[in-house]
Amino acid sequence: MDTTPNRSLHKYAIFTALSTFFLLIAGALVTSNDAGLSIPDWPLAYGSLVPPMVGGIRYEYIHRVVATFVGLLTIGLATWLWRAEKRVWLRWLGLAALGGVVAQGILGGMTVRMYQPPAVSAAHATLAQLFFSTVIAIAVFTSAWWQNELVEMEDRGAPRVRCLAIWTTVAVFLQLILGAAFRHNGFGIIPHLIGAAIVTILIFLTAGALKRHFSHSRPLRKCARLLRILIGVQLLLGAGAWWSRVYSAQFPQPIAVMVTLTVVHTVTGALVLAAILVTTLVLYRILGVGVGTTMADSDSSATTERIAQ
């Protein structure tokens, strides 16, 4: 089996991740347009492969088509990893992604067949984020810089920056679950607001720690800046989405401002997750898991620059 980084596989993984991001947009459009049950049957649509494309059917059908495309891409990704990847754990991660996309399809069908029970709809939305994270991680793991021989840096933070980043990643993921539950009428807004406060604090702590301890590292400074920008934008979008939901309640149908703000808020949440996940993975890669060779700050800068390329 080839041991050199497979650039084609990496590009394919990135393409799968981008397609998954579009799938998240398509799914969010279904929810915001209240179109989840516009096609009562599944896997067919009005008994055929292509239903009449009117009203809410357009959103639901496009979501199903993009989901099928992502499913096929994931089959390809898992197969490619299984056949070409030397790291056994990564081959299994590819299979996990495949299991995720299959489960996601089943959950999607369940939401239709069971008339969108909040638990199933929220699980569908949550698994979407988990699947997106898995594909992002695969894209990171298949990159050339991940597979390069690197000299480990030292985590001098207290608490350790790695731990902070992991906990922030977990908090963001939990927050996305709370958001999904709110969006699908499982919970009220309060848990999601509390989650927002916690996530904001953790992200600012992580970004601050990155800046303090790795100021010499341009990639990690960029990660810190990106996290701050994303969480700021996401907070504004969250406020906007909430206002738009309240405002649109007096309208007989979903209105454009509500659909736009809620969809952008939902997918920006996915971007926040992707950003903190990549940050965490980068930290793990350059800081190492165990005791490794420590290098001077001046050298580490050059190393991390190389990693990011």
Binding site: P40, Y46, A103, A123, L127, P252, Q253
Partner: protein
């Protein structure tokens, strides 16, 4: 592994939900009760009345039907929401007025005439219907476009069924009392209606004149309820003597929407 765990979680949680189409449903006692007392027409009385909205009615928003040209073409003038529909003197339409209690021991077989609900021009007509437990409801599609009928019932079987133009009506009856079952078309998200399912024939849905007339009520004391999709419920206790007619007025405060 996470997929399995999430799927199992979702299945477990879904099992805690309401009744679904195809699920075994035991008829409610009122629907299968053995023949009880019958109403003596010689002593039966009547309750008439009016439902009013106290205060200015909110302005209903216009519906944008651009998402389906067939819907837009069906209307030559702007169409507005029907949540709050008032007539002259603040009379309120689409209110279900019904007898909630006081009829113990009586038996009311379901009428054989079905209640009809149509969707002309991508709107439900009527906006609110009432039916007796066990009575057939027929949902027609007289439009030149596709509809899905989603009944998100909590006490009865939920339903989501598609209907192509010119398709046979969807027939449905309910085994349990429920006020009121939301009806939605997710193809056209502005389409909303309500079905009230009642255990006795003493109910009416008000028109724009806000009037109701409950005939042939046996003498007794009753709790009379008025239900509106926005303003919630209002109750009054009344006593009807033999051959007596009584008039009742319900007034909902315009500022007191049910969700407030």
């Amino acid at each position: 592994m996470y997929s399995l765990a999430l799927g199992a979680f979702a299945l477990a949680m879904a099992g805690c939900g309401g009744k679904k189409e195809g699920a075994l449903e035991t008829p409610a006692p009122s629907a299968s009760a053995p023949a009880g007392k019958t109403v003596d027409a010689a002593t039966a009385g009547e309750v008439t009345g009016t439902v009013k909205l106290d205060g200015p009615a909110p302005k209903m928003k216009a519906i944008n039907m651009a998402a389906d040209p067939a819907c837009a073409k069906a209307h030559t003038s702007p169409v507005t929401n029907e949540e709050v529909l008032t007539g002259d003197d603040g009379t309120l339409a689409n209110v279900v007025v019904y007898v909630k209690s006081g009829l113990d021991g009586y038996s009311f077989p379901a009428p054989s005439t079905p209640v009809k609900l149509d969707q002309p021009g991508c709107r439900y007509h009527p906006h609110v219907i009432g039916a007796q437990v066990g009575q057939n409801i027929e949902v027609f599609n007289s439009d030149q476009t596709i509809h899905n009928t989603h009944l998100s019932s909590k006490e009865n079987r939920e339903l989501n069924q598609s209907q192509l133009p010119g398709a046979q009506p969807i027939e449905k009856s309910f085994a349990r009392e429920e006020i009121a079952i939301p009806v939605r078309c997710n193809v056209h998200p502005w389409m909303k209606a309500y079905m009230a399912v009642l255990p006795n024939p003493y109910f009416q849905v008000t028109g724009k004149d806000g009037a109701f007339d409950l005939k042939d009520l046996p003498p007794g004391t009753y709790i009379l309820v008025a239900w509106h999709e926005i303003y919630g419920t209002s109750e009054q206790t009344i006593t009807i003597g033999p051959k007596e007619s009584k008039s009742v007025t319900f007034a909902f405060k315009a500022s007191a929407a049910a969700g407030d």
